[in-house]
């Protein structure tokens, strides 16, 4: 039974998504309850799966009896299982938050809205587990198509942002597919664990280099790496308040996971460290992203846009961590990925609540708000501590391990980049708090009722998670070091 867990994890949201238009035909309001129930079940199964993988080793799930390399294979190793717990928990929180904020004018289309969310979660599960490169492409596209539709669902400016995302995202996917076909033409296989045996003898081939570059640019667009990030701020700013948290916390992070897989699982660690300068490339791109993203965030006045640029800079920090080529840096990078996903979800919950409760979108309006809600201010303080990286939050320990890894590798530019990005993060949060606590001349007159329970719940859980990830950072990093390391690192 336990070896079926990866398939169950994927089929739960997929079946719920497909059957939802039929089941909820007469009872629209069921779609919310069904989504919450299915994702809650998914959280339990993913924790069970993690427990199982830790105690009994990785699961290689084979479809319909065709073993790899001929058949399609899913790999549920430590890294995939950890990320999957994150995906299911944040998916559940996102849907719970959605409950009271889902766009009111959707009417009957609310069913399709939840269908798309569940489809997105199942596609992300597929990306996390995929054991071959083409499967990864298909799930990337399913996730991307659901995101385009979800961003455009509210209409208005979001439509144009979604269209731009679609054009750039599809270009990225085409480049990724091109890279995969190059590697396929050279090696004759698509399976990652089969390719890792064949590639060491083919490193002089230009097709391998070309394929790798195309795949990297493609996934770089998907994860909003700095030269290709232009779609992200618009898309996340104009997306419905209920959708941005799920997208911001999961879609780009899972694209990073795909990148990690290609670097360390398709090419093995010793090649990457000794033979090809790919880690240097990742580290330079990460450095650029961390610094430029932070600098651009400083110039933003819109809350969601500020948080989106903050997310872009933190993608750079994660990449700096995984590109150090040693265990400390890698564990730090993955741990920071977990933290960053939680913080991004929390920040966009906060921006969503600020809009729904008080109707404010910009930093200035936040300052002109006369009476502050303790929920808003309290969770903002916790998330700011996490984003800046002060103890005892998880953000501090993530950066700590990344810097330790960079020192171990003697990579002082990376250390400087992490520190500079931390300073920039501090600067834009200082700007935010300065606006929040000053006494403005004019005050906004907002009539607000009680804060709905779902807002308190999601903000409370994400804020608590930021602290808890920090308090339990040692066992989590130890778990990553024991079970989630790439072979040979």
């Amino acid at each position: 039974m336990s070896h079926q867990l990866p398939a169950i994890l994927f089929l739960l949201p997929l079946f719920a998504a497909i059957s939802m238009p039929v089941v909820c035909l007469k009872h629209r309001q069921w779609s919310y309850s069904i989504s919450v129930a299915v994702l809650a079940a998914m959280v339990l199964v993913s924790i069970l799966n993690l427990h199982n993988v830790i105690h009994h080793g990785e699961i290689r799930y084979v479809f319909s009896g065709w073993t790899a390399p001929l058949g399609i294979e899913w790999v549920a190793d430590g890294l995939a299982s950890v990320i999957l717990v994150l995906v299911s928990v944040l998916g559940l929180l996102g849907v719970v938050f959605t409950g009271s904020t889902s766009p009111k004018d959707l009417g009957g289309r609310i069913i399709h809205y939840y269908t798309l969310i569940l489809l997105l979660v199942s596609a992300l599960t597929g990306i996390v587990f995929a054991g071959d490169l083409f499967n990864l492409f298909v799930f990337l596209e399913v996730a991307a198509i659901s995101s385009y539709a979800l961003i455009g669902v509210a209409g208005g400016r979001a439509l144009f942002a979604a269209f731009r995302y679609l054009i750039l995202g599809t270009l990225g996917a085409s480049l990724y597919l091109l890279g995969v076909s190059y590697l396929y033409a050279v090696t004759g296989t698509l399976n990652m664990s089969d390719m890792v045996d064949k590639l060491p003898f083919l490193l002089s081939s230009k097709a391998v280099v070309g394929g790798l570059i195309f795949m990297f640019i493609g996934l770089g667009i998907k994860m909003a790496l700095v030269p290709f990030h232009s779609w992200l701020p618009d898309a996340y700013t104009h997306a419905p308040e209920s959708i941005s948290p799920i997208l911001a916390s999961l879609v780009t992070k899972v694209a990073i996971l795909a990148w990690i897989r290609i670097i360390y699982w398709v090419f093995n660690a010793s090649i990457v460290i000794n033979d090809i300068p790919i880690l240097l490339l990742v580290s330079v791109l990460g450095t650029l992203a961390a610094v430029i993203g932070g600098g651009l965030a400083l110039a933003q006045g819109n809350l969601k846009r500020l948080f989106a640029y903050g997310g872009i800079s933190h993608i750079g920090i994660i990449l700096i961590g995984i590109s150090q080529g040693n265990q400390t840096g890698f564990a730090g990078g993955v741990f920071y990925l977990l933290n960053d996903a939680v913080m991004q979800a929390g920040l966009f919950f906060l921006a969503g609540m600020a809009f729904y409760q008080y109707g404010i979108r910009t930093i200035d309006d936040l300052g002109r708000l006369g009476k502050h809600s303790p929920w808003l201010t309290g969770s903002l303080i916790v998330m700011a501590l996490g984003m800046i990286g002060l103890p005892p939050t998880g953000g501090f320990f993530g950066k700590w391990y990344i810097i330790l890894g960079a020192l171990e590798a003697g990579n002082y530019v990376s250390v400087a980049a992490v520190l500079l990005s931390t300073l920039l993060t501090l600067a834009y949060f200082v700007k935010l708090f300065e606006a929040l606590f000053r006494q403005p001349a004019t005050q906004l007159n907002v009539q607000s009722g009680d804060i709905p329970f779902s807002f308190k719940l999601t903000l409370g859980i994400t804020s608590a998670a930021i602290i808890i990830l920090g308090l339990f950072s040692a066992p989590i990093v130890q778990l990553l070091l024991d079970h989630a390391m790439p072979p040979g690192l």
Partner: protein
Amino acid sequence: MVDAILAVLQRPSFLTFVILFLWGFYIMVTRYNLVKKLIGMYLVQTSVIFFLVSISVKKGATVPVLLSTTDPVIAASYANPLPHVLTLTAIVVGVATTGVGLALCAAIYQKYGSLDEQEILERLE
């Protein structure tokens, strides 16, 4: 230089792929009309699919169904089905993306009364 050009001319299908890809990319970058951008995007997708098909060509091979169960299997006489399956999946993905793109275009046209990127951006300000 001449050698490089001659080497490229030896691979007409690869050359076709490069031309199609760059043509599509050029349309995506330079045209302001959203539907034209989608056409460029579709051209890029199709060029990659063309590339996948062109690398799987095998002269003198037949469909991958065993001709006889008793004779030893000669791999050279059967085409590899995998690239074709990949191509089919990639076509489906492309169709789905184009569908969502066209739906977004229709919604944008209803909202702004125009498909020209410049005009829409002016109206957004």
